[in-house]
Symmetry: none
Subunit: 317 residues, 2 copies
């Protein structure tokens, strides 16, 4: 293999295995150790952050910085990526430790000048606004880690002005409108709840034995939750605008069906305990939804509407 190709491949190999010895590479590439040493020095000069230790169990490391091989991005893609990263900056809390600005700088640095110029022109003309909240969510990393590795957390949670202790097992986190939320199984309620992350005042790993929720994640959680519960069947017709409103609600994804023309319907099972929640939500959709089933839900809606009417009727204008 010619050297130029070997170097490129070595770049990737070295990034795959982050720890390796000279001999390993020598065998893999079919060249002598001396050559590998020379190559590694060249990679080093090219900016690959290598670090070596002598002695048994020694060898080469790639420092935490990894080299991305040359990627072919179109101009449009590069610009899009730039603004994607820039949009991230607006979030006051993120589940990653990084300051995304460092990634942004590097990316910008490496752009060819003409793309840089294009970005400069656009920078002050395009923005992705995420409302800045005072509320920061310091426990995102822990929550995410618990969701990935199936751990139970003991948290102190503030709801309705009161602090309470809970044991929860998160299934993920998401941000919406500048706030972070974590759907999780709550051991106190013995059911799934959504927690607002800025209301979580402390979070620690708990010794409790976790459930197996590996198959439950953000996209399918609504399906799984109610399997063994007492449920009623929901069927509701949606106008185009109703569909759009529902699309913004993550937890409805599994119930939402969309037709070609933009309209659609909601169909699925609702836990009896959630009926009131659904009732309120469906009322919020106003005339964009026509609930056809089940009777329980319809009754709930009518009852709630009646209460509202009487509440507003009693009010002087």
């Amino acid at each position: 293999m010619p050297k130029s190709k070997r170097l490129l491949e070595m770049m990737m190999t070295v990034n795959r295995k982050r720890k390796f010895t000279v001999k390993e590479l020598a065998d893999e590439f079919g060249v002598s150790g001396r050559t590998i040493l020379r190559d590694l020095q060249e990679l080093s000069e090219l900016g690959v952050p290598l670090y070596s230790e002598v002695g048994p169990h020694g060898g080469y490391h790639v420092l935490k910085e990894r080299i991305l091989p040359p990627i072919a991005f179109s101009e449009e893609e590069a610009v899009a990526i730039f603004f994607a990263i820039q949009a991230l900056r607006h979030h006051s809390s993120l589940p990653f430790k990084t300051e995304s600005s460092s990634a942004l700088n590097k990316f910008y640095q490496f752009m060819p000048p003409d793309i840089r110029e294009r970005i400069d022109q656009m920078k002050r003309r395009v923005d992705f606004v995420t409302p800045k909240r005072q509320a920061s969510s310091p426990h995102l990393s822990i929550l995410l880690d618990a969701a990935i590795h199936q751990k139970v957390l003991g948290i102190t949670y503030e709801s309705r002005g009161q602090q309470s202790k809970r044991d929860i097992q998160p299934i993920g986190i998401y941000t919406k409108n500048g706030l972070w939320y974590s759907p999780a199984y709550c051991y106190q309620y013995q059911d799934f709840r959504v927690f607002r992350c800025d209301r979580i005042h402390s979070a620690e790993q708990s010794a409790a034995k976790p459930l197996d929720l590996r198959d439950i994640h953000l996209e399918n959680r609504q399906i799984k939750t109610g399997v063994d519960q007492d449920t009623v069947h929901l069927f509701a017709e949606l106008t185009t605008e109703g569909v759009q409103a529902c699309e913004a609600e993550h937890w409805l994804a599994s119930m939402l069906h969309v037709r070609q023309d933009g309209s659609g319907w909601l169909e699925g099972n609702v836990a009896r305990s959630d009926i009131l929640y659904f009732v309120k939500f469906l009322i919020g959709l106003g005339k964009e939804v026509t609930v056809q089933h089940s009777p329980e839900i319809l009754d709930g809606i009518k009852a709630y509407l009646a209460e509202l009417i009487s509440m507003y009727a009693g009010m002087r204008r």
Copy 2:
């Protein structure tokens, strides 16, 4: 210069000048044209999308795909970038032509397997939700282009259900809560206005002479709009839960006031044209809100509730 370094440098040179001839490069690198030809063929084999034309005015092109030189990103940075791009996908319209999913795929493709694995684990556990509210905004590119290059656009704009023709000179675009907006100078009003991009039904370059707004951009426009709009006063008492629900709606931030005990109230001016929107929203809050003012809003609520009631009453269970 050894070949391996020359190739890497050539990769970048070739991306800088997107059009070049063999002789140019030969001079620049101090090697013969024959060598350059051989090198270019190698670059081609390495994936750089080169295209050549013979004859006078011929030469080499790089196709729109550009090669990004190897960049050193830390693991955290790489993960952050991945999710930044993924978050972009939620936007129904973007001012770039790209499908951001192609960028996402490439990026993912080139990640070392261990980072890929980490991303896989996180993919279904983290989400950046952008509400998909309304119809898409097809004219973003034109608006952005006009903002950058100081052009005047003739648009047809829908406001309060009526279409009107306007000449505007955009100073930028931004997205907030799933909708795109463009602050612009409106020649009809002779003042700055913010336009909702999905309400812009057509946009064409106009021959009108543009103003010099180069120094006005998203960050420094203080010149605000809407002070002179026709508004009504809203005052509504909120329960603790009502407060929490409102906190999730960032567009309410300026109206929302919270008491120590967690309850609060909404107070502020609402444009007449927005009353219906507020009515629907307030109904969605159910009993967590007590609207006390203004009469127009209360009437709106009662009317809408009455419609809902009759809609559901007409339904057989």
